[in-house]
């Protein structure tokens, strides 16, 4: 009975699709007769290539063009060619580890802030995702519910994430209110350098941990239960079973988590920007925010420098992405 209804609904839903497919059938046959089977590949790829071209390749090209021009004009033909001057400005330092010695000190502050952020965030993310996945994989009550709870933040818009946590962490926010109720000392979570950095890391971990936990959970569930029973018969203590069985078998998934979260951490922007606005001072200013502010938010928009910075960051991301691709291939071969 229920399956009848399902079939019926399914037929209703697919009917328009089937109609479209039938309508497309005749012209496609004609096309295939003309272009041959090889030509069909190009035909089916075309829509995607168009979108990719319009929204990725063309902007990338324009970005290149802007990066070698100067001035404040918006339209490319109005801008003057400056060669590598923008890159010179960004990379000119007597000591790259000391932003004060750089011509564009804010860029290098953003660079080193990003490096620190990535280091801590990826570590924290991997550990939190691992712990979450282990808990979600164990025999707890209402497991499906907890899985949903941990995955839920992933579905939130980053701006919403930033706002929620700002309400919680701001000077007169929820957390301080609770501390006040318990007569504990209140903290300016978002305006003290150390706490603001910690909050930025913590919130971005909270927002994305569900996604990475899911990757690890899939890996954990792919490990046969028999192995743990064999290990139990072999007298393996739970901690040793984790290090000697779970971790090695989960390693491919763990690598994916590390690389993916690395790539995303480098691009950190929205939720932290909403949360702290890069402050206090420049203590949570990261690369994407630097690019955004130089290129769009400041009164003197410097699209040239912003484009050059984007390209530098893009270079780093390309390297990381290639790393991820390589690792995925390696994993699939295993």
């Amino acid at each position: 009975m229920r399956s009848d209804v399902k079939t019926w609904i399914g037929a209703g839903v697919t009917a328009p699709v089937r109609l479209l497919a039938q309508m497309a059938d005749v012209p496609l046959r004609q096309w295939q007769r003309l272009a041959g089977r090889g030509g069909m590949i190009g035909f089916f790829l075309l829509p995607n290539m168009l979108i990719f071209g319009v929204f990725v390749l063309v902007p990338l090209g324009i970005n290149f063009a802007y990066s070698v021009t100067g001035g404040t004009a918006v339209f490319l033909p109005d801008r003057s060619y400056v060669g590598g001057a923008n890159f010179d400005r960004l990379l000119d330092c007597t000591n790259h580890f000391d932003p004060n010695s750089c011509r564009d000190d804010v860029f290098w502050i953003a660079v080193w802030n990003t490096v620190r952020f990535v280091g801590l965030q990826v570590t924290a993310m991997t550990i939190c995702a691992m712990i979450t996945a282990l808990i979600l994989n164990s025999k707890i009550r209402a497991r499906a519910f907890w899985r949903a709870v941990f995955f839920f933040p992933v579905l939130l818009s980053p701006v919403v994430v930033g706002l929620i946590w700002r309400w919680i962490l701001q000077r007169q926010g929820l957390l301080n209110y609770l501390l006040y109720q318990f007569d504990a000392e209140q903290v300016n979570w978002l305006t003290e350098r150390g706490w603001a950095f910690t909050a930025a890391v913590g919130v971005s971990v909270w927002a994305h941990v569900g996604f990475y936990a899911l990757i690890l959970l899939a890996g954990l569930q792919a490990i046969p239960r028999d192995l743990y029973e064999a290990a139990e018969m072999d007298g393996t203590k739970p901690a040793r079973a984790f290090w000697r069985i779970t971790l090695p078998l989960l390693w491919p998934n763990l690598l994916v988590v590390i690389v993916l979260s690395l790539i995303r951490a480098v691009q950190v922007f929205d939720e932290v920007y909403v949360l702290t606005g890069g402050g206090p001072g420049t203590s949570t200013l990261y690369l994407t925010q630097y690019i955004y502010e130089v290129g769009f938010a400041s009164t003197l928009r410097n699209s040239g420098v912003a484009s050059a910075a984007s390209l530098l960051m893009g270079g780093v991301l390309v390297v990381l992405t290639l790393l991820q691709l390589g690792l995925t291939r390696w994993r699939d071969r295993k």
């Binding site: 192995l227 029973e229 064999a230 290990a231 139990e232 072999d234 007298g235 393996t236 203590k237 000697r244």
Partner: protein, 337 residues
């Protein structure tokens, strides 16, 4: 030493009682086979013995020590899993060593034990390979090797051969038998394959629906099945069951109270007088001929004759059996005599 005693073991999963009071005594060095249809609780019972699972009630004693609350690791048993459950990321050698390392055994001792087991199982050339690089039969050997190196009180094997192809299954079966003879260790072997049970076992435990139907040596099980279920389960093709009226023309007289008469297909032979059947199907296997037929009243009957017999489908055949070969069951399906 490896004496195992099960006292009134029950196991419930939620509202479902899967083991319904199992009592059994397994002697030192004995190879006991748990056999029964799929889902009868064989694996569950083995898991209670192994310590991977705890019974809902009852006690498990190993060498007179109550181990019901003792962890799997501390029972001194080794298990061979149907899936082999080899650690895929470790070499064969590490697979064998892992349990010994857990027990903090000295390196030299581990090396000797692995070398011995590998020689016994002829897996020495495979020691540096990973399980993924082994064939099914080789994995099976490694799984057994992992149990052997532990020098356990008893071996527990859960359908260890059912993932092998038919040919390999037969040869591994013989090897397991030889291994048991050589090690002299207690083994509990679970299978749903009665040929495995009959060939390997010192004693067979027939399970059905979470209860023991009969415990006996293979040949006793075949010759003196305790009830109708065992009679039908052991032996292939299955025993024929006839009502006293249907069996009236057979030699011999049923004892008082016999509600059912059983006769194995192998024990029926052509005769001048007896049951007359109409042949419906003939399966010529070369070594034997399986004849399906129907007697008056429509009851189906099977008999197997040695060698090749030219029998016509649709023809009539009169068969009879040695009265000593008949089995009698009462109205409660229990054996009489």
């Amino acid at each position: 030493m490896g004496r195992i005693r099960l006292e009134n073991i029950t196991k419930n999963f939620g509202g479902l009682q899967v083991l319904k009071g199992i009592n059994l005594e397994i002697e030192e060095g004995e190879l006991v086979v748990f056999v029964g249809p799929s889902g009868c609780g064989k694996s569950t019972l083995l898991r209670q013995i192994s310590g991977l699972d705890k019974p809902s009630s009852g006690a498990i004693l190993i060498n007179d020590r109550d181990v019901t609350e003792v962890s799997a690791a501390d029972r001194g048993l080794a298990m061979v899993f149907q899936s082999y459950a080899l650690y895929p990321h470790m070499t064969v050698k590490l697979n064998l060593a892992f349990g010994l390392q857990n027990a903090k055994m000295p390196k030299a001792e581990i090396e000797t034990r692995i070398a011995d087991a590998a020689r016994m199982l002829e897996i020495t050339p495979l020691l540096s390979r990973r399980p993924g690089q082994l064939s099914g039969g080789q994995r099976q050997r490694v799984a057994i090797g992992r149990a052997i190196v532990r020098d356990p009180t008893a071996f527990l094997l859960d359908e260890p051969l059912s993932n092998l192809d038919a040919e390999l299954r037969v040869s591994m079966r013989a090897e397991l038998g030889a291994l048991h003879a050589r090690l002299g260790a207690t083994m509990i072997y679970v299978t749903h394959d009665q040929v495995e049970a009959m060939t390997l076992a010192d004693r067979i435990v027939v399970l059905r629906g979470g209860q023991i139907e009969q415990v006996a040596a293979p040949i006793d099980l075949f010759e003196r099945p305790a009830n109708r279920f065992v009679a039908g389960f052991i032996g292939a093709p299955s025993m024929n069951f006839l009502t006293p009226e249907e069996a009236a023309s057979l030699n011999g007289t049923p004892p008082a109270g016999a509600a059912l008469i059983g006769v194995r297909p192998q024990h029926l032979e052509p005769a001048d007088s007896g049951l007359t059947l109409t042949v419906t199907l003939v399966e010529a296997l070369g070594t034997e001929t399986v004849i399906h037929g129907e007697i008056a009243g429509g009851k189906r009957l099977l008999l197997t004759l040695p060698g090749h017999r030219p029998v016509q489908v649709g023809g009539q055949l009169t068969v009879n059996a040695d009265p000593a070969r008949l089995h009698f069951f009462d109205a409660q399906d229990q054996r009489i005599g």
